[in-house]
Every structure is written in structure tokens, then in C-alpha cells.
Subunit: 328 residues, 2 copies
């Protein structure tokens, strides 16, 4: 790979002039410019990002942290981020932390070291203290999961309200024994969705029973299956379930299919509206988050921060998508 010196030599000019051509400065004569461009073409030259970044302390790379790419929830968000970033000549790097702090560290270092210009974190398991430290010196945006009262700007939805509405929907259908399949409450979204669930129950004077609240260790299908199976073994079984994620809800549907008596109709509501949720049988009622927009806005916020602008937190609208799993 040729470097700028070789181009300069070949074109018979100085490296400064080559650099000017590269960055379309105006003070290059057309003649010189074309000489340089020819040399670039001939030697098949592409400027080194390393040299450039080192000098400019800018990489035009954005890190996107997520716990795991296996949850389809992130897919559309990433599309939103990516399209927006690319339109502004930035690229994104997907960083799967697998909820492991060591990996997180490596990615944080990339930012500190100017290998990346900023971070969008969607990882609920992120070390908030470290992220806050990073955010003091570098642009950071939280997407979906956020820190209440924290200083890092975020874009999210109102999880409490969405959960409240989802559970109210179940109540209106006549359900009085409504279970919650949630994840670890160290995550804000899990706490908020439980609060919404409880608010709806309280409003209708329905009991909040802790044996109907099941906490899973992870969000994949299998954990949903297992949670539902546990709920089905209770002497007083719930007639409806609200799960904090579609993956759990789909697992619950599966468990109902496999283990429940066919005459028991158990209604299920999920959260996220992942693409698979309309492929299940029955199709899944769920809370739709504007995932693409969330990603887009997160990217826009980060781009603003990169320009040194202040940004406001944003809470986007959600929507309850009613499908077969609550109709029967």
C-alpha cells in the first residue's frame, strides 16, 4: 500500500499538496490537482486512517454497545443508527459485550484512544460508573436502557406506561389473574415494566401476588418456556401473562402450547414487536417500540454531541399491537 510520500514523489509535488488534494482544499491549481489524482490512481493509493486519525484525533467511527446480537430487538435499532451515521459519513462498529466487563473495557479503551469517536450504548448490563467517566470526556448516548436522573443523554420509551397499558388490555379482556415474566430487576426497564404492571393491577383492585411474578436470568426463548412452565405448575394458575420481552413471551406461548390443557386459554402480551412475533401461532400481542426511529434519533443525538452541541433526552411513543395471543 502506497503512502502519501510516494504519491508526492510520483506527482512531483510535496506531501502537503497531496494532502490538500485529498481534503479538497481550494488552493490547488487544476493542473497540479490532476497530476496528483493521476498518481493516486496509478499507485492505487488510499490514505491511511491510522496516520490521519492520529493527527486529527478523529476516526469517524461510532461504537454501538449491545449485550448480545441474538435478541432481534436490536436489529432495527441498529439499522436506524447505521443509516443515520453513514449519511453523515460515520461508520458504526457493533460491539457485543456478552455482558462481560472485560469486553466492555476494551471497547471503552477504543474510545479513549481515539479509535472511535463516540458510543451509543444499548447494554443494560453496562457498568454505569465507567460509562459516566467515559462520558465526561467523550460523547456517549444511551439508547433504550438509560439512567434515571443521570447525566448521559438518552432516547427511550415510557416502559412503565406501556406496561400499564398492556396489562390494562389484559384486564379489560376479563383476566383477573395476571402473571408477569420479567428479567433481573437490576435493569431499569424491568423495574419500570413491573411498576406499570402493578399500577394497572392496583387500579382495578386486583391482587399483586409474588408467585405470579417470575424473574428470568436471561431473555431468550428457553427462559420464557421455563418461566411459563413454572407458572403453569402453580395451584392457582394465571389466566394471562405479560412478558417484558417478545423472546420471553414467545417462549411462554410455546410452553402453553406444550404443557397447558387445551381448554385453558392463557392470554400473552409481549414487548418489542420483533419480526418473529407475527410468525408465531397464535400471533403475539405486543408493545411496539419505534425501533428504527430510536436508533435514528440516538445516532442524531450522538452526531450533535460530536459537534459539541447539547442534546435533550427524548421519550418516544409506543403502541400496543393487538394480535391473536390475547384474542384466542
Amino acid at each position: 500500500m502506497a503512502n502519501i510520500q510516494q504519491i508526492a514523489k510520483k506527482a512531483g509535488v510535496s506531501v502537503a499538496t497531496v494532502s490538500r488534494v485529498l481534503n479538497n482544499a481550494t488552493l490547488v491549481s487544476p493542473k497540479t490537482r490532476s497530476k496528483v489524482e493521476e498518481a493516486i490512481k496509478e499507485l492505487n493509493y488510499e490514505p491511511s486512517m491510522l496516520g490521519r486519525n492520529l493527527r486529527n484525533s478523529e476516526s469517524r467511527l461510532i461504537l454501538v454497545l449491545l449485550p448480545s446480537i441474538s435478541n432481534p430487538f436490536y436489529t432495527e435499532i441498529i439499522n436506524g443508527i447505521q443509516n443515520t451515521a453513514i449519511a453523515s459519513d460515520y461508520n458504526i462498529l457493533l460491539c457485543e459485550t456478552d455482558s462481560k466487563p472485560e469486553r466492555e473495557n476494551i471497547y471503552f479503551n477504543m474510545v479513549k484512544n481515539k479509535l472511535a469517536d463516540g458510543v451509543i450504548s444499548m447494554d443494560p448490563t453496562v457498568n454505569m460508573q465507567k460509562l459516566n467517566e467515559l462520558a465526561e470526556k467523550h460523547p456517549v448516548i444511551l439508547c433504550s436502557e438509560y439512567e434515571k436522573g443521570g447525566s448521559i443523554p438518552y432516547v427511550t420509551v415510557d416502559s412503565e406506561l406501556a406496561a400499564y397499558q398492556a396489562v390494562k388490555h389484559l384486564i379489560r379482556l376479563g383476566n383477573e389473574r395476571i402473571a408477569l415474566i420479567s428479567s433481573d430487576e437490576k435493569f431499569l426497564y424491568a423495574r419500570q415494566r413491573r411498576e406499570g404492571y402493578e399500577r394497572a393491577l392496583r387500579e382495578f383492585q386486583l391482587p399483586i401476588r409474588k408467585e405470579w411474578i417470575y424473574h428470568t436470568k436471561a431473555l431468550d426463548f428457553q427462559h420464557g418456556v421455563h418461566a411459563m412452565r413454572m407458572l403453569l405448575q402453580l395451584e392457582e394458575k394465571p389466566t394471562a401473562v405479560f412478558a417484558v420481552s417478545d423472546t420471553l413471551a414467545i417462549g411462554a406461548l410455546k410452553a402453553i402450547n406444550m404443557y397447558a390443557n387445551t381448554e385453558e386459554q392463557i392470554a400473552v402480551v409481549g414487548f418489542d414487536n420483533i419480526s418473529f412475533s407475527s410468525m408465531t401461532n397464535p400471533t403475539l400481542t405486543t408493545v411496539s417500540q419505534p425501533m428504527y426511529d430510536m436508533g435514528k434519533i440516538a445516532a442524531e443525538m450522538l452526531l450533535s454531541r460530536l459537534k459539541g452541541e447539547k442534546v435533550e433526552n427524548i421519550v418516544l411513543e409506543h403502541e400496543l399491537i393487538i394480535r391473536e395471543s390475547t384474542i384466542g
Copy 2:
């Protein structure tokens, strides 16, 4: 962020000594070493990857190209790659090309520019000519999709054989009218799976009818639904379907559920054994690829190439997982 000069000054030594401490060279006296280490701790210093990479032309970063993260097929492969890479002190960057050549270019440039040390490509839409050019100067491994007779090392499964076995399974169940839902035949895996499909049919003297071969434009659920819907509108409907990907197969199951008469039992076989495939109703019979191992081996091959070693192509074993969708 402090730099090496500041550490040197603080510790009262030269930058060379600091660098030696950083890279645990042996020729540093214990006294000096601890002075330097203290300065590093005090100033909270972390060496700049940019400076280091520029000098060493090494980044210890591996690029993983994939067309889209929305296909769960890639999830486990990525885990395999990532765990292997991290064990050797490499990190991976996930690059979603969205099948767009511009994006591909950016990522190729990262490699040319030493921002990344090598590439594992899982993208069937990759520009093979450009990838081959890149592979002349940089380590590149193909994972899953590969180039027959090409010079880039690959790890994959025997798609033709797997498809042949899958279709034979359908034939043994008594199906004589077997459809194929495939994707664009510009992809090698699609061609190979069609060949396997045809070989099985020929072997049992069953007709190969082109109205039973449907090519989709993409691999998502919706395209599977649409394909199956088209097949159900034929006057002579197939009694079984082999789809080249689980996502398509799951869409097909959905379409059968929605549009087929309940008395028609249409058997379905997919390919990949994604985690969803055991959540559907009926559960999906499918070809299981050793995805984690494939990723692991791809990473190991790349690490070997990075050390300058030669590597051999590897074809891994697959397995037909029989579930409800071919039992009824």
C-alpha cells in the same frame, strides 16, 4: 488522556523506558519499573492504540463481515468467532454490509489501512473480486459461504449433501410433490442446495418441476410467507417443502397455517437450526449446522494466517434434526 511523554516526565525517565515497562521488556530495573507503574496509575494512563498501531502496523482487531444481523443464523457463529479471538487477545468488529458495496469498501479500507488485521467474511453478497484482491495482501477467511476453487481459505458445510438428505427424508415420508423455496442463485449455497434437492428427486424418479421451485429476494420471514402463499395457489400443490433457510421455512409454516386447508398436511424442512426453529408450532425439522464450531474454526484459521501459516479448507458435519413439521 495522558500520553507516554507525560508518564516519562512524571516518572523521571525516558519514553523508551516507559514503553519497555508497557511491553514488559526484561531490561528494566525493578526500581524504575515501579516508578513508571506508579506514574501510569496516577495519571490513569492507557497507551494509545493509534500511536501503537501506526508504529507496529497491527491492531489486533478482526473484522467480521455479514450481510445483516437480522438472520439469527449468524448469532452463534459470531459467538464462536468472538470467544476464540478474545482468547488470543484479538477483538472483533461486526460489520453489517446490508449487501451494499459502499459499506463493504469502507470495511476493506479499514483492513488496508491497518485499522484491522484480517477479515472473516460471511457475506454471500460480497464482491469476490475485491475480496480476492484484499486477500492477496491481508488474511481473509470465508465462513459458510465460500468460493469454489477460489484461493481464499474457507470453513463450511456440505450444502448439497445436506439438502439431498433433507429432501430424501421428505421422500421417505411418502411425499412425491416436493417444492423448494430458495433464494437468489447467485449465492453458492442456494445453487448447491438446489442441486441436492434435484439429486434426491432424480434418485427416486420424481419430477423436478420449475413451478415448485420458488426464488425469494431475501431471507426474512415475510419472504417465506409470500413464497409459500404462491406455492399454495398452484393447481397442483406440493405436499412438502424444503426451504434453504429456517427464516424462510418459518414463514412457510406461517403461510400454511394461514392459507392452507386444515386437512392438507404440508411437511416443511428448513436449514440452519436457528433458535426460533424449536419455538414454532409445529416445531421445525431442519438441517443443523455446527454454527459455534464454524465460527470457532474460522477464527482459528484467521489467527493462523495472521501468524503467516498456511491453512486448509474445512468442511464440517451437519445433522438433520427431525421435528414436528415433518411428522404432523
